[in-house]
Amino acid sequence: MATFDSENAARLHRELHSHLPSDPALRVKTLESLAVERGLVASETVDAWVEAYSEHIGPKRGAQVVARAWLDPAFRKRLLENANEALKEFDYQGSATGHLQAVENTDVQHNMVVCTLCSCYPFSILGMSPSWYKSAEYRARAVREPRQVLAEFGVELPDQVAVRVWDSTAELRYLVIPQRPAGTEGWDRDQLAAIVTRNSMIGTDRDLKGEGA
């Protein structure tokens, strides 16, 4: 069984550091070979996970949820009260959504999500996180200088807007509900979902583009 011994973990990491090939592709190939020979996984299962994240599990799910929240006030209420239960109406629940929390942008508040200690992310609803989200730069700076970070993403904040940064330090995961832009009156859910960007659901995009924008 696992030793749960912190010093053993550090010692093994140092040993691995001096033995593993430097090319990450080779390292992962070795890891897969060992896991397959050890009977822990079949390569076809790895293929199937890759296919699932390529075709089914991605930010289009989150965009559908946001679009429905814009159209359906009762759903929006359920989403804000218990997001994982609300996801089940789409069958989108899954990895890292067990304690999903939806937070809404308003005219006076902008929300932005980070995980400073690792890179926690609601995979089942947003898919794989972008690498900027996992970068040391974002993890270090988002909590300390969010406005400069937002400016690098091209986000302009009017004077009355406060920024709230959500640092995911536990098992809660956050989904930002961006504001519905003007010029989208009468649009159906798919039309609306098409303009919801992944970054807007993390909070590094704010002003979504409606018609004529």
Binding site: L20, T116, E137, V143, R144
Partner: protein, 220 residues
């Protein structure tokens, strides 16, 4: 521990890789996708979420900063599997086992979609003590972190006063989880003004929330 992973508020980093770091899953390199598939397949036996995280925290610090995400995960999976005894360091050096085990069952795409849907694990723990604080209470975070090797109280948010804005029930406690022990403790969302965290450099309009266990807090 005050490790290399505790990046919040650290200064000296450059611009966010907004454009270069924006690829979606399908645009990743094959080895990155396969690393993700291996991780989802649960190849590390006997881990808890916090032992997994602590494993990453104990990487060689220069590797932690220079390796990309999936390369870090790869290093950590090797460590976790050797630590558990699933494979040996000699197996790693050799790159294969001397005696293969019976093959694992191959799962289909439909199996995986169903498995993923069951991944919305609850970390609530029944039977834990009632919460000591209520929403609206002012609290202060500890000056020194809990003694355990793994903690989820970041350096930048220690000895700071904030306000509880939500209570989430008793959640699995990370200091215990990283030691393979079970136990729940009240979890709260606490909001801190940016000025309380960073002083005059911060914008007075802004704040930061953290999800913190009760033992990280004292009354303000």
């Amino acid at each position: 521990m005050d490790g290399i992973h505790d990046l919040g508020g650290m200064q000296g980093f450059g611009p966010i890789p907004v454009k270069s770091g924006d690829k979606g899953f399908t645009e990743l390199q094959d080895w990155e996708k396969r690393m993700w598939g291996l991780a989802r397949s649960g190849i590390a036996q006997g881990v808890t979420i916090d032992w997994f995280r602590h494993g990453l925290e104990r990487m060689v610090p220069s590797d932690y900063l220079s390796f990309g995400y999936f390369n870090k995960w790869c290093a950590n999976y090797f460590m976790l599997m050797v630590d558990h005894g699933s494979i040996s360091m000699d197996d790693v050096k050799r790159g294969h086992l001397l005696e293969p085990w019976p093959a694992a069952e191959a799962k289909t795409g439909a199996d995986i979609v169903a498995l993923n849907a069951k991944g919305d694990i609850s970390f609530l723990v029944e039977g834990a003590a009632a919460p000591a604080y209520s929403v609206g209470d002012r609290v202060r975070t500890l000056r020194t972190p809990p003694k355990a090797a793994h903690t989820r109280l970041p350096r930048y948010a220690r000895d700071v006063e904030g306000q509880i804005i939500a209570y989430h029930g008793a959640h699995a406690q990370p200091e215990l989880g990283a030691q393979g022990l079970k136990g729940g403790e009240a979890l709260y969302t606490v909001v801190f003004s940016a000025r309380a965290l960073w002083g005059e450099e911060a914008d007075p309009r802004d704040d930061v929330t953290l999800d913190l266990w009760e033992s990280y807090l004292v009354p303000a």
